[in-house]
């Protein structure tokens, strides 16, 4: 866009008005730069490019010495600059979380009201919340009481505190899943690979009591047993509940949990790009206009 504006308006912008003598001012160009300066600039450019290349190379290393399998990249519905979370998949993922994951993992920072208009209607979300019981109070006699959940409640916790969770799981703490796709190297790809990647331990790998072998888990020995099997739950919409389907749906849901603002961000990306396109054209026009005056001047000092 800026190029079009420039081509159309170059003549007009560079035209000098008034009685200023148009001269070719060369002190702002590379043409009459000394050889040493040119070489110094060239060296600086080469060093910068080399440094960036080196940094990129370091970050794309194979890391073959790690004792861990890196997950492959999967084509997520929310992967891409303008792609939204697939709400259909998320709703199934919530079913998976509720019926499978929630037995051990909490989802502390998600409230039922946040699901309204995303995967549930208000009434459906209220019904979901009412299935759980919460301790509330104190009432006017100073006693705690139990009540069904409301929209403003967080997801029910499986254990009252981390110590109880550890005691029930061989000393291993099941992590909270709210930010799990942001909190693990590899993100959604890693969670999917982990959920579907359980294997028989190969010869020579010693597992502790209650541990399982998963090549995607750093170190290989994981305290979480394989949770997802074919047909372990039945989807409300009748989608065949294969292991990979379950894992895909729950990862889509958890990715939303970690970044519920993701879709808004992508909407604003479109709008800011439109705005910045217009702004860039304006700025280009303005800059050329300002510099036309400067570039057509030459300053000289006459020494007596």
């Amino acid at each position: 866009m800026a190029a079009i504006v420039g081509r159309a308006s170059r003549e007009a912008l560079l035209k000098v008005s008034g009685n200023v003598q148009p001269q070719n001012a060369r002190n702002l160009s590379f043409q009459n730069m000394s050889k040493g300066k040119k070489m110094a600039l060239g060296a600086l450019g080469t060093m910068t490019a080399g440094g960036i290349g080196f940094a990129v190379a370091l970050n794309t290393a194979v890391l073959a010495s790690d004792f861990v399998v890196h997950p492959p990249k999967f084509p997520w519905s929310f992967k891409g600059l303008l792609s939204a979370y697939d709400r259909d998949s998320m709703r199934r993922g919530f079913e998976v979380y509720k019926q499978v994951c929630a037995a051990c993992h909490s989802l502390e920072y998600i409230r039922y009201r946040e699901l309204v208009g995303v995967i549930f209607s208000k009434d459906e979300a209220k019904a979901q919340a009412a299935e759980a019981t919460y301790v509330d109070g104190p009432n006017d006699k100073g006693e705690m009481f139990e009540r069904p959940g409301k929209l403003t409640d967080v997801m029910p916790k499986p254990y009252p505190n981390p110590e109880a969770a550890k005691a029930a799981n061989n000393g291993a703490l099941p992590p909270d899943l709210t930010f799990i796709t942001r909190a693990r190297h590899g993100g959604p790809d890693y969670i999917y690979a982990l959920l579907t990647g359980y294997k028989e331990a190969p010869a020579g790998v010693n597992l502790g009591e209650g541990q399982h072998y998963n090549p995607y888990f750093p170190g290989g020995a994981i305290s979480m047993a394989q949770a997802l099997y074919n047909e372990i739950i039945e989807y409300q919409d009748g989608t065949p509940a294969t292991q990979s389907q379950l894992a895909k749906d729950v990862v889509t849901f958890l990715a939303w949990c970690a970044e519920p603002e993701g879709d808004t961000r992508k909407r604003y990306f479109i709008k800011s790009m439109v705005f910045m396109g217009v702004f860039m054209g304006t700025l280009y026009y303005f800059t050329r206009g300002k510099f036309a005056y400067l570039k057509s001047k030459k300053f000289a000092a006459k020494l007596k």
Binding site: S77, L82, S83, A84, Y85, D86, R87, D88, R91, G117, V118, I119, S121, E124, Q236, D237, G238, D263, K266, R267, I270, K271, V274, F275
Partner: protein
Amino acid sequence: MNLQGLRKTLYKGIFQRTSTFVLACVVSAFAFERLVDVTGDQLFLFINTGKMYKDVEKKYAALAAGSEGEEEE
């Protein structure tokens, strides 16, 4: 209308007085914001057809209506 005439009309109508200039700024800012906002959202919804909440709502409403276990896709 030639370019000179257009410039003159623009100047006389908008830029000459501060009041009309400010009014033009406010009106065009509002129009631009609405245009970008609405078309941006429409574009986002068009790209993500079938993935938004309204599609889920429709699907589960249909499921609830024919609740004899007939799966409609």
